[in-house]
């Protein structure tokens, strides 16, 4: 057992290397998690942007936090997919019958989700900079943004794990992410909620995406974050814990 524990991190490294190769070799994944969000950004800034009254002279700045969330939400669909494929093929049983820490098989996917989403966020920031995104935020604010995004990614990754571990088909493993990708559209991510009819507005103002978007937006523009950051963090941590419990239950059922 000691020998198994000692190698936990190197085993995790092997698992990470394996699924990062899966991502790099899948054009589909790269398009969905990086090129699609950038295309959304181009569309909203250069096509719809002129007609949107967001109360800001730099719409890229306004829009970017929502784009982050869309990128992460589409990224974790692939986490569910990769987990599902592993469970179906014999490779999962091979790993489990080897002298490695069994949890690395699952945690390798979680780590991959964090690393790959981190990379796509960086690529999106670079594209946004070219499009005129500017931020006055200092190092601490950027770290806070990174922290919120990591928590958001973890929360969604554990939801993805539930889907990947319990889905009956490949389509089922990915389908759960569509509503999540859609949530930013019914929030303050693209337009202020003030213009929405009251029913939609109540939903938009009280769903997790709005508080997360508002918190990130405030941090990036050096505005006071107010209550939003605490609401955002509570949502992320709350979803993460609940999803983790259900994911582990689904995992134990499978092993």
């Amino acid at each position: 057992m000691e020998a198994v524990k000692r190698h936990f991190f190197s085993d995790m490294g092997v698992m990470l290397g394996r699924s990062m190769r899966h991502i790099i070799r899948s054009m589909d994944t790269i398009i969905t998690v990086t090129i699609m969000p950038i295309a959304f950004m181009l569309l909203f800034v250069y096509v719809f942007g002129g007609a949107i009254q967001a109360g800001t002279d730099n719409y890229v700045n306004y829009l970017l936090p929502g784009i982050f969330l869309i990128a992460i939400a589409s990224g974790i669909a692939y986490t569910a997919y990769r987990l599902f494929v592993d469970m179906q093929s014999g490779i999962f049983e091979r790993f489990h019958s080897m002298p490695i820490a069994r949890s690395t098989v699952l945690w390798g996917h979680v780590l991959t989700s964090l690393v790959s989403n981190g990379i796509s966020i960086i690529v999106i920031i670079l594209a946004a900079l070219i499009m005129g995104f500017r931020s006055s935020a200092g190092v601490l604010s950027w770290l806070a943004v990174a922290g919120i995004l990591v928590l958001f990614t973890l929360a969604l990754t554990w939801i993805a794990a539930i889907a990947g571990l319990s889905a009956k088909s490949v389509d089922g493993a990915g389908a759960f992410s569509y509503p999540i990708v859609f949530l930013p559209f019914i929030s303050s991510a693209f337009v202020p909620t003030g213009s929405m009819p009251s029913g939609v507005r109540i939903f938009a103002e009280n769903q997790p995406v709005t508080s997360i978007v508002e918190a990130i937006r405030a941090l990036l523009s050096s505005q006071p974050v107010g209550n939003d950051i605490w609401v955002a963090l509570s949502w992320c941590v709350g979803i993460m814990l609940v999803a983790y419990i259900f994911a582990m239950r689904a995992y134990r059922k499978r092993v």
Binding site: V14, R18, G90, H96, S97, M98, P99, I100
Partner: protein, 253 residues
């Protein structure tokens, strides 16, 4: 090395209402090829999963390489390899990357050298840097078995190693299994093909309705039948013999 590689007593396992194993007893000698024969759904894979620590039994005891499955699963995992029913290979990686990955997970020195040696031994050098998704069924199985040999486990489990393979590929796998046994590795294989058990195994056990109903060498099992009568039968070649003759391969006995 002589002794017992696997000892199983009164093994029981149910899935919900289904009583799959109703008390399985068997012994596998070190260095032998043991075949567990049974029809689809007889519980062969369940036995393999319990012995490879993937499933916990409901009752009975079992030891693998001298370690109890309930109390020392980590020790067992150090000393075995499993080649599951569905090729346990990573489709998106190349053959070489698959081998290197397993060598790294077994924390061996020089994973690249190990991969090179196995690619050579299993005739996969040319395909080494192609993705496994482009491999034929036989090549995939060969890679699968090669991955199981990394770290030189004393005991290898092969769960239906030739199901779904064409006759040529099946003979290739048989050859590999025989070579492994000659080098002293114990092999526990399951199969639904009588011929496969006859070809390979030192001892054969038949699993039927949750119990081992017959167990012995091929000669012993033959004695269970009424004594042979002499009959004149015109020998027709089997379709397999015709197939192999036409494609110009000779079955190696």
């Amino acid at each position: 090395m002589t002794g017992t590689a696997i000892q199983v007593k009164g093994l029981q396992k149910s899935f919900k209402q289904l009583h799959v194993l109703k008390g399985v007893d068997l012994v596998v000698e070190r260095g032998s090829i043991f075949a567990l024969l049974g029809s689809n759904g007889a519980g062969k894979t369940t036995v393999v999963k319990i012995l490879t620590t993937l499933l916990k039994p409901d009752g009975g005891t079992a030891s693998v390489n001298g370690y109890d499955i309930a109390s020392k699963p980590d020790r067992i995992r150090q000393s075995i390899s499993l080649t599951g029913q569905f090729a346990a290979v990573d489709e998106i990686l190349t053959g070489r990357e698959n081998l290197i990955m397993i060598a790294k997970l077994r924390h061996l020195k020089d994973p690249h050298q190990i991969a090179d040696d196995l690619l050579k031994r299993f005739g996969l050098i040319e395909a080494a840097d192609r993705r496994v998704s482009a491999y034929s069924g036989g090549m995939r199985r060969r890679l699968d078995v090669a991955m199981s040999l990394i770290g030189e486990p004393q005991l290898i489990f092969l769960d239906e190693p030739t199901t779904g393979l064409d006759p040529e590929a099946r003979i290739e796998v048989w050859k590999t299994v025989k070579e492994l046994a000659e080098s002293g590795t114990t092999i526990f294989l399951t199969t639904q093909y009588l011929e496969e058990a006859e070809q390979l195994a030192d001892r054969i056990a038949i699993l039927h309705e949750g119990r081992i109903i017959a167990n012995g060498t091929l000669a012993e099992l033959k004695k269970l039948l009424p004594s042979a009568k002499v009959e004149y039968v015109e020998k027709q070649p089997t379709l397999e013999e015709i197939f192999l003759a036409i494609i110009g391969k000779e079955e190696e006995k």
